[in-house]
Amino acid sequence: MLTDYRNESYTKALTDVVNTYKPEILLLGATTLGRDLAGAVATTLLTGLTADCTELDVDSDNSLAATRPTFGGSLLCTIYTLNFRPQMATVRPRVMPMPERVQKPIGRVVEHQLGMVEADIVTKVLAFVPDRDKATSNLAYADIVVAGGLGLGSLENFQLVRQLASVLGAEYGCSRPLVQKGWVSSDRQIGQTGKTIRPKLYIAAGISGAIQHRVGVDGADMIVAINTDKNAPIFDFAHLALVTDAVRLLPALTEAFRKRLSPHTRDRIAS
């Protein structure tokens, strides 16, 4: 009954588990599945739920401090669930570093009988159609990511981002306004309402760097920002800054990388 995700069966199951074991804190991933489930479970349990957290902490009195971007991603806020249990939160995928595998786990697996019957579940899954474009889901796991923002000015100029990504063997992405304009599909969006990335190198072209975007890229090992506005917030968290027009720089950068990374050039430098 739990083979395919369905809100009804999963809500019933998770609510039952919470009522049995009474946890202080209940965390779920802020994925399409996790958000669908968390909202339903929190309302069924009549407790608080903080969405899409980027940072979690536990205070000395055991209360959960859940931090998330707010006001369309221009500020951060820390939210508590004071008098209700469990304290619930959904957490953005990829915002936390992956922990090391422990040799002797202290947690144990508990089997919990649900006593649910299929006849009680109204919604039926008729089919599941897997995504054809597998590459799009790689953005979150890519080592190199190139992304463009509103500073590029037009859909045509966004091609410059794709060209650089192609030469680097990188994934390409964008900031939210480009998705809202319909220039780029939403699965390419990087930021609070899009993907969180942790690449070794992130090149942001014409992206101003609102918090909405920042929370999606803070885990990058190196952030290179190209922007005409020297006061753009992205320069507050980038490692390297180039104050120039990305539209003019990108073709030159693509060409320079192409030369630099070609085996021919490297051999010559090596000799």
Partner: protein, 281 residues
Amino acid sequence: MHIVVCIKQVPDSAQIRVHPVTNTIMRQGVPTIINPYDLFALEEALRLRDKFGGEVTVLTMGPPSAEDSLRKALTIGADRAVLLTDRFFAGSDTLATSYALAAAIRKVGSTFGAVDIVFTGKQTIDGDTAQVGPGICKRLDYLQLTYVSKVSSLDLSGRTIEVERRSEGGVQVLRSTLPCLITMLEGTNQVRRGSMINALTAARAEIVKWSAQDAGIEDIQKCGLRGSPTVVKRVFAPTPRSEKAKVVEAAGQPPAEALIDEIFKLRPKLETEMSDLARGF
């Protein structure tokens, strides 16, 4: 058939600025819009109405000025607009909001005809929680269908509905029953423009305005700040990285090459890794 579409009036987040000194939101002069995701929900509701007949009621909870968004929704083609407004609602989190909206939907059903489907956007652009849809749904005990990209069939006499919904790694095709709540994915339909005649009618249309009491809300303690289990303790601007970004100076060198030199100077291992990647390894 009676469809309710829940919409929210939100500040156009693209135009929000934070005061550089006080770190507070500068709301003044920021224009408000209908939450863009809700427009896809409204459009889908109007399409079903046009095909199967019936009525579309738009509902919003907010300050009296949210009337503007309701008139826009009427211009686009909704048949009726309900504004749920009361000072008791101030400070509502998602649990309290879903309590009030669910009560108002029950009242819409008893006043204007039984509700078959509630539509809303997948989330708002100001709160970004995606929690109010499922919240309303559970309180009404409707079937929950979130992130829907397509309503593929609707059988009003058999009370069944088939939808495609975005899931992880693919699309689920689901069959469920009415009444249900659907949250619509963005970009799933082309939102129609309201006609001039609609705009003129909408400007004069009467908006149904309900207080908490009018909407039949029984327990005012469950509304607003008092009815909200979550408490915002701290609002702050993110701290800049301790070191400012290093500005790349191109001294007699093309800027692109200067940038690449800097990248590889700071992260020497990247050059080999990127060469391998560029060659398709």
